[in-house]
Amino acid sequence: MRAARQVGRSLPRLEARAKVTGRAEYIHNLQLPGMLYGKLVRSPIAHGTIRRIDAEAARAMAGVHAVITSAEVRQIIPSPYYGPAFHDQPILAIDKVRHIGEPVAAVLAADAAIAEAAAQLVTVEYDELPGIFDEVEAATSPVLVHEALKPAGTFADLKHLGGKRGTNVALEFRLRRGDVERAFAAAGQVFEHSFRSQPVMHTPLEPMVALAEATEASVTIHTASQSPSFVRIEIARLLGWPENRVRVRTAYLGGGFGAKLYIKLEALVTALALLARRPVKVSLTMEEQFYTITRHACTVRIKSAVDRDGRITARRCEVWWNGGAYADIGPRVTQKSGFTAAGPYDIENVAIDSVALYTNRPPAGALRGFGIPQLVWAYESHTDLIARALALDPVEFRRRNILREGRPQATGTVMRDAAIAAVLERLAQKLEWGRPFERGTGPVKRGRGIALGFKASISPTASVALVTIAADGSCAVQCGTVDMGQGSDTAMAQIAAEVLNLPAESVRIVHPDTDVTPYDMATLGSRSTFHMGNAVKRAAEDARDKLAALAAELGLPPGANVEIAELFRRRYGMQAGTIIGTASFLPSYAPPDLATGLTDNATPFWMVGATGVELEVDSETGRVRLLRLVTVADVGTPLNPRIVETQLSGAAIMQLGFTLLESMEFDRDGQLKNPSFADYKIPGLGDLPARIESETVAASQHSGPFGAKGVGESGTFGVSPAIANAIHDAVGVRLTSLPLTPEAIYRAIRAAAGDSLAEE
């Protein structure tokens, strides 16, 4: 019997009941017998050498099991440096601290309150060094964050990493297409602007947490991680063990957004557990998360030449990424986003310089969008300014310039299955762009704006999946994709169910556990639906083929309608046996030429997202009220339309926070002034637009599973510039730094009127 179609169904999440009853498993909840809690002693300064650590008082406190510093860590891990791009981050600070909040020592106790109290008794003496905090200054500063750089060489796309000796540069990505200088010289008009994005934090509501337990022969790490396979490889490397002695498992994640990627607390808990010979759990507080990973602050200088027909003929982008004290995955952010820094436009001459810099701020890494929102902020603000200057309608100006199917993008890779035009047109239609727009009365002015962004997927990356069929015909999928709220469990179940002709609800997803789930690069960058989706689909097909082979072996004619359980019974004489389908998926990739950044195969697929905004600005106070936020995206063919819609609106709401509210505020010494929700404000219900609409265009990713591709980030792309463009439309002022606070807007209004508001 043919089950109804499983892909394309708006099936509720498989784990819905567990989540509404509070019973879903998170590592946050995990406690093991004999477990110790680790509390960290953190650096109160941004840059300095450690003169002395005095832990006597803490060690003497009743209930304290141990105080661990790098000296102890090095007894078991001689070179305790980790990281996905550079092996630059010590498990605990060695001789030097490079950012505020850097872990210097760990206190272990069976009672978390005692560990915390004892941590306050550890005194550390520092010799302070001058710090470097600004990304543009870091490019030329004599203050060096690292004396030497150690490329990791782990990932295929980052093999060329070297860093620049004697500088703070971790990576420079260069792209040269055509001849921008000549085009600028010949151009009718040239426009140049600079834009800045502030540092922000992911703030998953389940704060980062990891727990390790060690035996003589192995270590098991329970971690709220988006990348269990990478953790295993990295821990095995640090310990000098084979991978098979390291087991990494996860549960549901209470949000990730890139914060829980690569390696965060895992090396630390492993070292602590090995030293203590007891299981050790480290749970960060919300405050500690701010010291652990952030989103890159970023400065973009962008210059374009436009001809008389309103066609962009050349564009140069210079991008400085504030990577903080440890590279984390910043170099990849720098390179991958560099591919598309010139925007979704068909431009003959392009020059891009994208530079990852070390500074004395907390490390920056991946955050939903992988650098793209910072770039779209720049190029779509810039695009809007050009359209205004040319007195062209912003939609029409984009129409003339967008990349169309079959045209080469800046890297030279030809656009395929990227519905840029369809997305733009649908957005304009939803906003009724051609109709007259109500402008408001009195001090409250209305405006509207759009913005359009795109992204290349991270490549090359592999996913491996297993699909097992038990003797009763029930199906389980074993894969390393981590469900952190994006609904991957449900999507993978739908894919397997579609192939195997089962109801998706009946498919069980085995959560990542490197002892039983095969390799997966990581759950990041909207790659899982495409990569793991393809792997699961093929593994399910493999299982289906093996079932067919079994039927043939039993002498059944092709297409014989025999239940799976019956096949097993006939084969084994009882309810016994297992069929294992397996597949791995690795799309092809051609690395960009080091000198020109050009490649004909930059990505296996493109993500496209656009945002339209209608808003009111109170011109007397600068307060903004969002009336409407419309997201349109190309996600290929949605596997689960309901989940896709919540992914789009959820991403847009998150980016709305990064646009209007959120900012990590540092003082001149690199101290973070607002590491808590009391002063770092994320959007609540009261901050939402009156109307939120999300829509996908009819499209198909031909190489994707059932036409699908990634969706998790597309809703973020256009939000910031669409809002700034709408503010400009309403009150005639342009903001070039995020966040767009009421005060910043009001100040711009006053400045434009030639009556600047006093500084203080």
């Binding site: 109290a117 009195g442 009261g686 901050d687 606070t741 005060e743 508001l757 500084e759 203080e760």
Partner: protein
């Protein structure tokens, strides 16, 4: 948090006896919402906490006298205040202000006494009570005394309460012919502590103002009466020009006292004060919405 002594006396007298005027590490614990934050951050390390949660009677109840005087026991929770029919009748501005105060979970436990005793200048309720002319009743070893709420806070997180005194009630006098309004201005998220709070109470016939009380909260070291704006309005019939003038006068008189912080520069808060006061007056006096937004 480090261990401490936690006691929960059943009577006010016992509670008072457990306090210690000499030791600031001994404190009353009401809803605990402010104290827990300070204790968790290590800012306050108590030696003894005297929970007032077992107290009953007057100190935990609310009443409206026939003359229209409200008596709000110190242990009345903000949520009870928000919903009490007596409040809606006698001083609806309190209920309205509480609607945007903190969040329902905090309001379910935070108390009126804790709110006033905390002395945090950023709070919403004290300026409202000051504008209504409210008083606090305080009990200590020397007996009871009464103070205007305006006189309670002496500075930044400082009150005139002695370490062995407790607030037992807030008393709001009858409000005949008075109209009151509280404006909460947030500048970061919509729901946040105020960048600026503005409490107004007017005695007026139509647009003819007999007396005005205007209190600025959150933007200054302690709630501040805007006396110049008040006297500008008193005895005048309001029109668009007058309320605009009131906004400017208020901004000028508060200028030196307004503090810059993460919620805004001093210049911006002065601007907010000017605009919001003008708009609030327009609303209260039913004048054309000069600059009205929503």
């Amino acid at each position: 948090m480090m261990p401490f002594d936690l006691v929960e006396p059943g009577t006010l007298r016992e509670a008072l006896a457990l306090l210690d005027p000499e030791d600031s590490a001994v404190r009353a614990f009401a809803g605990g919402t402010a104290l827990m934050l300070m204790m968790k951050s290590g800012f306050f390390r108590p030696k003894r906490l005297v929970s007032l949660n077992a107290l009953a009677g007057d100190v935990a109840s609310l009443s409206l006298s026939p003359t229209g005087e409200l008596r709000i026991g110190a242990m009345v929770r903000l949520a009870e205040l928000e919903r009490a029919p007596e409040i809606r009748r006698a001083a609806p501005v309190i209920a309205a202000a509480l609607r945007r105060h903190s969040n329902p979970r905090v309001r379910n436990v935070a108390t009126v006494g804790g709110n006033l005793a905390h002395g945090d200048p950023h709070m919403d309720l004290p300026p409202v009570l000051i504008a209504l002319g409210a008083e606090v009743e305080i009990e200590g070893p020397a007996g009871r005394r009464r103070l205007p709420v305006d006189g309670l806070v002496s500075g930044y997180y400082e009150t005139v309460l002695r370490g062995d005194e407790l607030i037992v009630a807030a008393i709001v006098p009858p409000q005949p012919r008075r109209r009151a309004l509280y404006v909460k201005c947030t500048t970061r998220a919509a729901d946040d502590w105020p960048a600026l709070g503005l409490a107004l109470s007017l005695e007026a016939d139509g647009a003819a103002i007999r007396a005005a009380t205007i209190v600025l909260g959150a933007a200054t070291e302690r709630p501040m009466r805007l006396a110049q704006a008040e006297s500008l309005l008193a005895g005048r019939t309001a029109d668009a020009a007058l309320i605009g003038e009131a906004g400017r006068v208020a901004a000028a008189e508060a200028a030196a006292a307004i503090i810059a912080d993460a919620r805004g520069s001093s210049a911006y808060k002065r601007r907010l004060l000017e605009v919001e006061l003008r708009r609030a007056l327009a609303r209260l006096l039913d004048l054309p919405a000069a600059g009205e937004t929503r």
